[in-house]
């Protein structure tokens, strides 16, 4: 019934490659600005949700991921507006800022666990938001920063294409590249020795420590990688929408990211990707009904928590477990076997 492992992996790799190729040529096929915009937003949210998931997977109840996004967005915006730094450099520097912030916040706060960590990270995010909101120069206070300059158009010599930054194309390419790069990094991390160590820390951190794992170093590492990637996506977001205000990065954003992860499935790598696509597309379809949209979103979170402990991707397994239970109840032979 089950295909051989090697063949299954090949099929999966081919499917992923085909999907990536399709995503890469979308701007050439469709010229709808609106659809490209939705896709760019989805890509950036996938980065945020996936990085958030990795921190949660190390067992830390992180409740301040929006701080990294805000930090990246503001770093890039200030660099572009004040110093005229090129866009790619500003995104990389924003990632560096996220890295430094994650290490500075992570070393003291990762000593504590569970809700204590949630309170500290959330408080730190609020402090950062207050700084952005109350310091008028260079962060613009409550009105935030606007008019982040677009780079000049330039022509790629051999292909004869002009990169027009007013169109969605370049940002689509950047967002896609960033998302693929981030996902590749996270995937390699998860299916390596690091991933196993993260699992060990999540399940029983003192046991992990007892076999010689420096759990602090690994926790800070995961925190820093995720913070840095989220900051880079935040920087790209700021450059894309050209306006950042402190209200864009409130705790609502964090709750949205959490809901993407939980609806898609926390245990699987593809969970946040699926969840982000579904939730953002459904939100776009319902954009005419703001309150109804909020009720649907929160209803989905509640339903996912109740009925889908492992998200949509965990659904097949939950169904097969439930079917198996019904079957064993139906057949007396099996029941006898279980009771014995």
């Amino acid at each position: 019934m089950a295909k051989p492992l090697a063949r299954r992996t090949t099929i999966r790799a081919a499917a992923v490659a085909a999907l990536i190729c399709f995503l890469a040529i979308i701007p050439l096929l469709f010229h709808s600005r609106y659809h490209l915009h939705v896709l760019i937003v989805v890509f950036l949210n996938v980065v945020w949700a996936s990085t958030y998931r990795l921190v949660l997977r190390t067992g830390q109840l992180h409740f301040g991921h929006h701080a990294f996004i805000a930090l990246g967005a503001y770093t890039s915006a200030v660099l572009m507006l004040e110093f005229g730094v090129p866009i790619l450099v500003s995104i990389l520097l924003a990632g560096f800022a996220g890295l430094v912030f994650a290490i500075l916040l992570g070393y003291p706060s990762l000593r504590v666990k569970a809700v204590y960590f949630a309170i500290i990270t959330w408080g730190a995010a609020e402090v950062l938001r207050f700084v952005f909101m109350r310091v008028d120069h260079p962060f613009g206070g409550t009105t935030g920063l606007s008019g982040i300059p677009r780079p000049n158009d330039f022509a790629i010599p051999l292909l004869g294409i002009t990169v027009d930054w007013q169109s969605k194309g370049p940002f689509y390419a950047l967002a896609l590249t960033l998302m693929l790069g981030a996902l590749l990094a996270l995937y390699r991390l998860e299916y390596s020795r690091f991933g196993l160590i993260f699992n060990a820390i999540r399940e029983r951190d003192f046991l992990a420590q007892s076999v010689g794992i420096n759990i602090m170093r690994y926790k800070v590492f995961a925190f820093a990688v995720c913070g840095s990637l989220a900051s880079m996506a935040g920087a790209l977001y700021a450059n894309y929408v050209t306006v950042v205000t402190p209200f864009d990065f409130s705790v609502t954003l964090l709750i949205l990211l959490g809901s993407y992860i939980l609806v898609g499935g926390m245990t699987q790598f593809a969970g946040p990707i699926l969840g982000t696509c579904l939730m953002i597309i459904s939100s776009e379809l319902l954009s005419g009904y703001p309150f109804f949209k909020m009720m649907l979103y929160s209803g989905l979170i509640i339903a996912a928590m109740l009925f889908l402990p492992n998200g949509l991707l965990g659904l097949p397994k939950s169904i097969s477990v439930a079917v198996g239970r019904v079957r064993s109840r139906a057949s007396p032979a099996l029941r006898g076997e279980r009771d014995a």
Binding site: V112, A118, E126, V127, S298, I301, I302
Partner: protein
């Protein structure tokens, strides 16, 4: 600083302290029993305030009657939430955490749908002022302080003097030992939900005449209450009270001395630094 202003600020901080304390005590009880934050307390607070708005200010019902009806109705809602949503998920911290986020958000958006975006006000129940040490103070504020103190004292007596209260504390200490003594887990959970939500609803009822009502009033209140609970030490009732008093004083004096827009940023910063150095808070116990 003149004594008039000082008295006024002290009374203000006492009112704030009562607000924070009522919400934070409810959250503390939830935290002791479930080890998870209970976000819907914020929207319960909001719904209670709107209950007073509709029953008392719109339909002219007696204030006490309206308050009792609101609190009982919300306690009933809490029982339904406990049975239908929380009990199946208990034990999985992350699930319970985000379940609370979802329920709070749902009630808040339902509030937007039902009550609209317009902010409302409830007329003062105890109009008039009196003079204390040269400062003019509203009776309403004094009543809020008295009701809050009564609630805190009765909660303390309930937890230390009654069988049910002792059972709850025993459960918090060790669920297994409590089960061996015949204390039912589900009864403890139900009581926690009823008491915790009643405290949040009481906060909404007594504060409705003092604040602007809007569907988004709950979340900021509950987040501030979390800060109180965290600072006081998770699961510690005296710690929560002390922290509520400290934060209320900082809030009230900071707002008048350095301006409201800077106060909370500085308060958050101080609390985060304090909690990083001492994660168990002012009076928390290490479990």
């Amino acid at each position: 600083m003149s004594s008039t202003v000082l008295t006024q600020m002290l009374v203000n901080s006492a009112v704030l302290a009562v607000t924070y304390a009522l919400l934070a005590l409810g959250l503390t009880m939830f935290f002791s029993v479930m080890n998870v934050m209970f976000f819907p307390a914020g929207s319960m607070y909001m719904i209670a305030a709107f209950g007073i708005y509709y029953l008392f200010a719109q339909y002219g019902m007696d204030y006490y009657m309206a308050g009792v009806i609101t609190i009982i109705a919300l306690a009933g809602l809490a029982l339904m939430i406990e049975r239908g949503l929380y009990r199946p998920c208990l034990g999985d911290t992350l699930r319970v955490f985000f379940l609370g986020v979802g329920v709070n958000w749902f009630l808040e958006s339902a509030g937007y749908q039902l009550f609209g975006l317009r902010t409302r006000g409830v007329p003062s129940v105890f109009p008039g002022t009196f003079t204390l040490l040269g400062a003019t103070l509203a009776w309403q504020r004094l009543v809020v302080i008295c009701i809050g103190l009564t609630a805190v004292v009765s909660l303390y007596l309930f937890l230390t003097r009654t069988r049910f209260g002792l059972g709850m504390r025993c459960y918090v200490e060790s669920p297994e030992a409590a089960a061996l003594q015949g204390i039912r887990k589900n009864t403890v959970l139900r009581m926690t939900f009823v008491l915790g939500v009643s405290l949040a609803a009481l906060a909404g009822v007594v504060l409705a005449p003092l604040v602007q009502l809007s569907p988004d009033m709950g979340s900021p209140a509950v987040f501030k209450a979390f800060l109180v609970v965290g600072l006081g030490g998770l699961g510690s009732i005296p710690g929560s009270l002390l922290a509520a008093f400290i934060l209320a004083t900082l809030d009230s004096f900071g707002s008048s001395l350095i301006g409201p827009q800077f106060t909370w940023g500085i308060v958050y910063f101080l609390v985060v630094v304090f909690l990083t150095i001492r994660p168990r808070g002012l009076m928390g116990v290490v479990r």
